[in-house]
């Protein structure tokens, strides 16, 4: 278990499936993600496979628990390139009652510390849709810097939207 201030990060468990299925089918949640289609809890795929794969350098996936043990979301590192020591971060706070209360920011800070202090990475990148102001503010608070605005990179809700690339580098990161 990786301890943060408000949350702990742990390996995904089979028991998370019901919550994960609910979150990744909730349009209030997925409008900020790259998830587009509905997901069945019985379909073979990444949701079911999560708990059976050992976490490793190539694919880091944590469940986010509050200090009371309430599973509220997930955070992961993917696309790790060992030569570049770079990866991409993704996060979902699926329990909407826990939005805007610092849990996401703390989960991001905690997984960043893991990326830099344990995995020995140099760069952590993420993509955020331009209309996701809440997440953008959380990423800034966690130390991310805006680098790229990909114009019209994402189509959803009948329109094209910009996508922002942000990153934090090891040398500028404040634990």
């Amino acid at each position: 278990m990786i301890e943060g201030t408000l949350v702990n990060l742990r390996a995904p468990e089979t028991g998370d499936l019901e919550r994960n299925t609910r979150w990744y089918n909730d349009r209030d949640v997925t409008r900020f993600l790259s998830v587009r289609y509905e997901i069945s809890s019985t379909e073979k795929g990444w949701l079911r496979d999560l708990p059976s794969k050992p976490m490793s350098y190539d694919e880091v996936f944590f469940a986010i628990d509050t200090k009371d043990g309430v599973h509220i979301g997930n955070v992961n590192l993917s696309g790790v390139v060992p030569e570049d020591r770079a990866c991409t971060l993704g996060i979902t706070i699926g329990e909407k009652a826990y939005w805007s209360r610092g849990y996401g920011t703390d989960a991001v800070r905690t997984v960043l510390r893991f990326a830099f202090d344990e995995m020995n990475l140099n760069r952590v990148q993420l993509g955020v849709l331009a209309y996701n102001h809440r997440a953008y503010a959380a990423y800034k608070r966690a130390g991310f810097v805006e680098e790229v605005r990909q114009r019209q990179a994402r189509y959803a809700h009948g329109a094209y939207h910009d996508s922002i690339v942000m990153s934090v580098l090891r040398e500028e990161w404040q634990p």
Binding site: V148, A153, Y155, S167, L169
Partner: protein, 176 residues
């Protein structure tokens, strides 16, 4: 065959193997690419055979670039096509160094971007260029690409971290 002004784009052929293997092992070429390791001709042959045995399609258009005299000088491709977003990424290599800085790359870019917009009906074509690749950056600008930002320290090579610049061209700003 897709006709440009200086070049034509055609499907890859097994006869391209010797040149592709030579180019992909030439450090003067690959220092501008994400290619890092040496590639055996057997590995290159396996890759090319797979590529050349499948019909080119929306998922992965890959063209050989030939001059109007039919000299094969490089390759250009579109990948990571997302139909819902109508976007893709572009990669290009001019492997024959004698053809550098003479407009062939720029013309190949213009030709494949026209294909992306006017045949594939895409809305956005994106590419990455390492910050030290001034020649390519200038060619992308000439072909209509706009710098969107800079991914800091995103690429490690030659003993140091280098920035990668993201550029794109959108359908509504593109000038044929």
């Amino acid at each position: 065959m897709i006709e440009g002004t200086l070049v034509n784009l055609r499907a890859p052929e097994m006869g391209d193997l010797e040149r592709n293997t030579r180019w992909i092992n030439d450090r003067e070429v690959t220092r501008f690419l994400s290619v890092r390791y040496e590639l055996s001709s057997a590995a290159e042959e396996g890759w090319l055979r797979e590529l050349a045995s499948k019909p080119m399609s929306y998922e992965r258009p890959f063209f050989a670039i030939a001059t109007k005299d039919d000299v094969h000088i490089g390759n250009v491709n579109l990948f990571a096509v997302v139909p819902e977003d109508r976007k893709c990424e572009l990669g290009i290599m001019i492997g024959e160094k004698a053809y550098w800085s003479q407009g062939y790359g720029t013309d190949a870019l213009r030709t494949i971007v026209r294909f992306a917009f006017e045949e594939m009906n895409l809305n956005r074509v994106q590419l990455h260029v390492f910050a030290y690749n001034d020649r390519a950056f200038a060619a992308y600008r000439k072909a209509g690409f706009v710098e969107e930002g800079r991914r800091r320290q995103a690429h490690y090579a030659d003993g140091a971290y280098h920035d990668a610049i993201v550029m794109s061209v959108l359908r509504d700003e593109w000038q044929p």
